[in-house]
């Protein structure tokens, strides 16, 4: 019998709650003061990543990420790895109180070498659960960057799609069974749907893994059911920021696997296992068990560590209830 699975969307808090020492945070300060080397910081990031993988496994999540401990944000991590970018000042990340450094395309964007493959290999070696690598999508990366080279969003996005296609192929070659691409930017620029669709074809071309597209922070009005034509296997949808996504998905039979974001990743209010179970059952009306994974609405780094962990525990307990087991 198929059961509903649990997953996460990506980021996880990098530091523990006080008074536990924030090793990562103090190591960054030490690096800035020249007291440790970049390699020392990488070792700390490895340790924190292993902790985060253990924490997710202990909570009982089926499909995890590495928590993106090494990422300052989802944009500079890729922009620094690709050719063609410089990095500018801070910008607000959508409607959050989180800021990212804005990449600037100053030349031809190109893939030079794998950006996330070593991270993926490290995570697999240190995880008791299946791991999915996450890559920021070409559309969102373009929308949140500044273009001083291409002149049109179309050329910028298509160049990024070609470059990141190589990253996805490298991840698949490294053994990734599922690869997740995050595209919250689509919901901010839904007028660009035709471009998004073309970029998706280029992005996923020849990638032999389960292809997961994650959206969050908004509704899919104007995009659904057209999104079902995308060359992806899984679509991640945020039902917390946009409860009306429940209605929107009724417009057509859902033909993909669903990553249903039903726990609020941006509020400390804790869902009960019953709340989660009820939403999981509702999601199972859209995508049957076997094609359904339940998770938070977005990355969990918007929350303090202790709350993030409790959210995962509520997630797992709730989904167990929905699967007919005891909480």
């Amino acid at each position: 019998m198929h059961r509903v699975k649990t997953t996460v969307v990506g980021s996880y808090p990098k530091i523990p709650d006080p008074p536990a020492p924030g090793r990562w945070r103090s190591s960054v300060e030490k690096l800035q003061r020249g007291e440790i080397t970049r390699e020392d910081l990488h070792r700390v990031e490895d340790e924190v990543t292993a902790d985060v993988l253990r924490e997710q496994a202990e909570a009982g999540v089926d499909l995890v990420t590495d928590g993106q401990i090494r990422w300052d944000d989802g944009f500079t991590y890729f922009a620094r790895g690709l050719a063609g970018f410089t990095i500018n000042g801070l910008q607000r990340y959508f409607d959050t109180n989180v800021y990212y450094r804005q990449p600037v395309a100053t030349g031809e964007v190109a893939w030079r070498a794998p950006i996330t493959v070593d991270d993926y290999r490290f995570a697999v070696a240190h995880s008791a659960r299946s791991v999915k690598p996450v890559v920021t999508g070409p559309f969102t990366l373009a929308v949140l960057s500044k273009d001083e080279f291409y002149g049109t969003l179309d050329q910028f996005v298509m160049s990024l799609a070609a470059a990141l296609n190589k990253e996805l192929k490298a991840l698949a070659a490294a053994g990734a069974a599922v690869i997740q691409v995050d595209e919250p930017g689509l919901l901010a620029r839904r007028d660009q749907w035709p471009l998004f669709r073309r970029a998706s074809e280029a992005l996923w071309d020849g990638v032999t893994a389960t292809r997961a597209l994650y959206t969050y922070f908004g509704h899919l009005e104007g995009l659904y059911p057209a999104m079902l034509e995308l060359p992806v296997d899984v679509i991640g949808i945020d039902f917390v920021a946009a409860p009306r996504n429940w209605e929107i998905l009724r417009k057509a039979r859902f033909t993909k696997a669903l990553g249903a974001g039903v726990l609020d990743a941006r509020n400390t209010r804790l869902e009960s296992p019953d709340d989660v179970a009820e939403r999981a059952r509702k999601a199972a009306e859209i995508a049957p068990a076997g094609t359904l994974a339940i998770g938070p609405s977005a990355g969990l780094e918007f929350l303090p560590r202790r709350v993030a962990r409790r959210k995962l525990e509520a997630l797992v307990a709730g989904v167990r209830l929905a699967n007919g087991g005891a909480a």
Partner: protein
């Protein structure tokens, strides 16, 4: 009602002021660390906060700034300072804003409200030190709500409006204590410009309703053109903005429709180490006066200066005052 008069304007063209925070001196940073580890008692910390406040009042007088601030020697985070003293909040934990910068993010877990005055004692202390006017400094309801988790209220609107009533009471208390200038900081006001700007306008009306003091709101960090000209409907006398860090690009936006409020013209980049020159200040003000009438212009830094050193802050402010003086001289010639 939007206040239209400038009830207590200082009697000079281009009054100079600052946005609120100044750097804490090293002895105070050390004292705050000790107090956090319970190695220093509250009275001892308070005495050092007062000492540092007085130092900043004297420096502002020496620099010849027209409208002073207390420098916020006793505040940490601009939202947690209010949340810590109000009913309804708990500190949920540390949350990252960027890089390795973390802030203590409060969570609203019960109805919010004031137990008593939050800033009045410090206002009185600072104002008693100087004959020059000292601004009362508040964080606005939209920003407090936006930078907190909301576990209690069914909607953001209910939380924002309840906070607006509390901040109004605080503003009224500041006015009774003698504040002629009251600033309500709203750096988060343009987080959701389409969805929420009306709410921010309504909230500000509640905050400033019935006040006779000259009111200011400081807005920074975001996409200001997106809330223009809607922001001119905010119920304040002055909107204080960061112009320098984008080389006065906002002036293009303010050409049409015209800027009908007073402007707090940010002429110093709060995040650069370099002190601007008086010539840069003169040029920035001159460019502004092509777009906004001189009677509407107050001169200030882009933002709070707490991330600068004391030396950088003094050098920047000296340039600001000198540049302003030169423009005043030109205008009176």
């Amino acid at each position: 009602m939007t206040p239209t008069a400038t009830p207590t304007a200082v009697a000079t063209l281009l009054p100079t002021t600052t946005v609120g925070s100044f750097p804490k001196p090293p002895y105070l940073l050390e004292a705050r660390r000790k107090a956090a580890r319970k190695q220093m008692d509250a009275a001892e910390l308070r005495a050092l906060e007062r000492k540092a406040t007085e130092e900043w009042i004297r420096r502002q007088e020496e620099l010849d700034i027209d409208i002073l601030v207390d420098g916020e020697m006793y505040r940490g985070d601009m939202v947690a300072f209010f949340a810590d003293q109000m009913d309804g909040f708990e500190i949920a934990g540390l949350v990252r804003s960027y890089g390795n910068r973390y802030y203590p993010k409060p969570a609203v877990v019960r109805p919010v409200g004031r137990r008593g005055p939050l800033t009045v004692d410090w206002f009185r202390f600072a104002q008693d030190l100087t004959p020059r006017p000292v601004k009362g400094m508040l964080t606005g309801p939209y920003t407090i709500a936006e930078w907190s988790f909301n576990e209690y209220y069914p909607s953001r609107r209910e939380l924002v409006m309840e906070l607006a009533r509390a901040i109004h009471d605080e503003a009224a208390d500041l006015e009774r204590a003698g504040a002629r200038y009251i600033q309500i900081d709203e750096p988060a006001i343009h987080t959701r410009p389409d969805e929420d700007f009306e709410l921010a306008v309504e909230a500000m009306e509640v905050v400033t309703r019935g006040l006779r003091a000259y009111t200011v709101t400081h807005i920074c960090y975001g996409d200001v053109p997106k809330i223009y000209p809607a922001m001119l409907r905010l119920a304040v006398n002055q909107i204080d903005l960061a112009l320098k860090n984008d080389d006065f690009a906002l002036l293009e936006t303010f050409k049409s429709p015209r800027f009908t409020k007073d402007i707090g013209l940010g002429v110093l980049d709060a995040h650069s180490h370099r002190a601007e020159t008086p010539e840069e200040i003169v040029e920035g003000i001159r460019r502004t006066l092509d777009v906004i009438p001189v009677k509407q212009v107050y001169v200030s830094p882009d933002c709070g200066l707490k991330t600068r050193t004391t030396e950088e802050t003094v050098a920047k402010l000296a340039a600001m005052v000198e540049g302003t003086r030169r423009v005043r001289k030109e205008l009176s010639a």
